[in-house]
Symmetry: C2
Subunit: 482 residues, 2 copies
């Protein structure tokens, strides 16, 4: 059956028909639906969040010796087929260019779903000796995966990401790199996005197509479902072998390099919405908020207006000088109450209200987005107090999400427990599992998957496999997911 | 005829067969040829230059009220056809996706060659009132134009760029925006890239497909050919009308917005190579050099090495603290002479040589890449002197390029003069022209084009059209170009 690609006005879902998440993403100005099915437009506000994500990750990657490069968006179809598991994983998701410049192409080109294959074709030219290793590259790029059911940020046909691709002279070094990046991601997601994660490795059937080990971080959304926040793959020698990359090692032997790849995507923006949002709209963690504080001036006549606006401009200048991302909402076409609602919808962590009486008293009213509490603060303390409040909000959002994660992570001692739990109680389930794929399919029948096999003793089994009753190999986290 | 897209080892040009520019770009580590015909890989060093370009442009765009967003890479083929001139201009250059997820698509999608069409489809939703204007958006993205003859950076099938797309409530405001951006680009190209440009507007036949006016900047390469450095288009109401975008103006009337679009691309990196390079390799203007100063330690034995390396680490820390992008080349696998050549090839503006005698004397030897001159500088003055030298190099590169531009810009009083001049003397030719397309074709027969119609009195004719002898409408710049 041919596939429709263009959204017509008739086919487009009406706003009412979308679920609350989809509506919020559009109403808060993070993204909008495009005329191409499955592709979103990232609007200014959403892109500003992405830029803050990029800044942090890019800075840390550079600080750990990684460099950015850029590889072509087109990959010859035959390249995808060179790594056996890779082609099996990605073939159904490919967008294929068959014509260029008015001619049919001799070999179709695919729009990159991920760049391992074209990158390893280049690595064959660049890697000759152990002196060329480690090679630590990253690229910021768009990728395309043909998806049937899409949702803004969470799963789109085109998305933005960074993809790191490193090559090393030993298996241990490659694994250390994959773990280093996982830790970097966790620091970012927990520290900046205020989202606690459970980390570990994926099961054999859930790992990346072509990886030896996939490390993952799973976060719990407010509906109890899991969202994979990013992955870091130890690729072993699979791609080096498939793409005929060889280096002369110190010991005089020719070897395929050991390699890694890892990525986080614009999906992180969806996670922020799903973890922190409430009935009023978004709540952005201050460290990732494009606007950390919004000032709403309140006045009734021109005389008041002049006084308030002068005062407010001074406050904004002080806050900006103090390193706070601040904006004044000086529109005179809408009332303060409308502005309050709009900035709450957009999740700005701190609102400062300033009316004529505040000017007289030399103060401002600070309202927290997370708790809704208000306090009057003298102007002389406003910068310090705003900074402290933003830090408190950051910590509070993380603490709230961590409590939610703990409260909704359960034990399931049997398949029946698991099935009932998943139906009646949202959340993650710790279960003992033999790591057999047959038993894994029993989870799938409950519309759940093994999200993560945690590191260390957290995954030590404390009973038999809940499906087959044979000795368990690991205590894993099973959940429904996005 | 079907078109080959994949470069096989046999089909790939050998390094020797490429011209000096192509070889230099690869040898200096800016880019490499990819297996996909016409697509390059931007390597770490080239991408670092691009990041410096991005930082400056992005900062200035934000300072002038523009915001970044991101629009889909795929555009329904039918969209391209909505603006009549636009489809004529871009149809031959399209890469077309006909299959996705294993199915044939009902309507092919093109990979964006530029984004006006999909952006104006969104602007129809977002623009309702004069209050929604001006809308000042920009995106950093990859675009694809199917090109037959490609060269790294100068003309590639896929390239990176920023594309600005703004909408305004009046014709005057849109034109002011297009000029504002042109001025911003000129400040960047002359000030940071040290490349003088001639600016003005394009002729009717050379302007962007769908624009009322295309403003351009043209630079002269060392072979006398012109390179278009970037363009800023006043699109009039063409796209607003074609995409049915309407706003209610202050005067109560419904109108199509006036709009602009503008871009600079990774081509700028090619311009840096072609304008400043010499027989030894690149010369990077300091403000855009990823490494502004490289320190080469020189020693013969371990004792000397220890002393030199300690000394050099201190210098590097001082320079970095002084805001200079510095690197130490501490490889022990190659000799200093090899390093000198390599860093000259890569165009690092300043080299600091430090041997045991320099350590004793408390100094370093500073070698300029542009002039080759060397001087000993006391360590206590090294940061200040390095900063001053980098500034001198920046100015000197610009002055040299400006002199070259002036010396190679000629007058041509007749078509014969122009034809002889283009054959015998490289450079730009100022000619009087009636602005008729018939006469423009006479330039084309000399393999030249009207590069720019300068602003103001610079384009006032001082004689009849050199082709038809009728009264000239402008004195324009004609040249061969990349």
């Amino acid at each position: 059956m041919a596939e429709d690609v263009v959204t017509t006005p008739e086919a487009e879902e009406t706003e009412e028909s979308r679920d609350p998440y989809d509506r919020l993403v559009v109403r808060a100005g993070l993204a909008d639906y495009s005329p191409v099915r499955g592709c979103m437009v990232i609007r200014e506000y959403g892109y500003a969040v992405w830029e803050l994500i990029q800044n942090w990750i890019d800075g840390e990657l550079k600080a750990t010796g990684h460099k950015n490069a850029y590889f072509p968006i087109f990959i010859p179809l035959s390249f995808i087929a060179k790594e056996a598991e890779h082609v099996e994983g990605f073939a159904p998701q490919l967008a294929v260019v068959t014509h260029g410049g008015g001619e049919e192409l001799t070999e179709p080109l695919v729009v990159r779903p991920t760049s391992e294959t074209i990158i390893y074709d280049m690595y064959r030219k660049w890697i000759q000796s152990y002196r060329d290793l480690p090679l630590l590259l990253n690229q910021w790029a768009n990728v395309v995966r043909w998806e049937i059911r899409t949702r803004p940020f969470l799963r789109t046909m085109e998305f933005l990401w960074q993809e790191g691709h490193t090559a090393h002279a030993s298996a241990a070094e490659a694994d250390a790199e994959a773990r280093l990046i996982l830790d970097l991601y966790i620091r970012f997601i927990e520290g900046e996005l205020a989202i606690p994660v459970m980390s570990g490795r994926k099961s054999e059937s859930e790992k990346f197509a072509g990886a030896d080990i996939t490390y993952t971080m799973e976060a719990m959304m407010q509906d109890g479902k899991a969202l994979q926040m990013g992955t870091s793959h130890n690729l072993g020698q699979n791609f080096g072998r498939a793409f005929d990359v060889w280096f002369l090692d110190r010991d005089g032997e020719r070897k395929n390099p050991w390699s890694t790849s890892w990525a986080v995507t614009t999906r992180l923006i969806g996670a922020i919405v799903l973890v922190h949002g409430d009935a009023k709209g978004l709540i952005l963690p201050p460290r990732i908020a494009p606007i950390q504080a919004v000032i709403v001036p309140i006045w009734r006549d021109d005389e008041q207006r002049a006084a308030v606006e002068t005062y407010v401009a001074g406050i904004a200048a002080d806050l900006a000088a103090g390193g706070i991302r601040v904006e004044i909402d000086d529109r005179d076409t809408v009332r303060p109450g409308f502005k309050f609602n709009e900035w709450e919808l957009k999740g700005v962590p701190l609102r400062l209200e300033v009316g004529p009486r505040d000017v007289e008293a030399g103060q401002a009213v600070a309202a927290r987005r997370d708790t809704g509490t208000k306090e009057s603060t003298p102007r002389s303390e406003l910068v310090a107090r705003s900074g402290a409040l933003l830090e408190e909000i950051q910590q509070q959002l993380y603490a709230r999400a961590l409590t939610f994660l703990h409260e909704n992570t359960h034990e399931a001692g049997s398949l029946e427990d698991l099935a009932r739990g998943l139906e009646e109680q949202r959340g993650f389930y710790r279960v003992n599992w033999c790591e057999g794929q047959g038993c894994e399919r029993a989870f799938a029948r409950e519309k759940a998957t093994v999200r993560v096999i945690p590191f260390g003793e957290e995954s030590e089994p404390n009973g038999p496999c809940i499906v087959c009753g044979e000795p368990a190999r690991a205590r894993v986290v099973v959940a429904r997911s996005y």
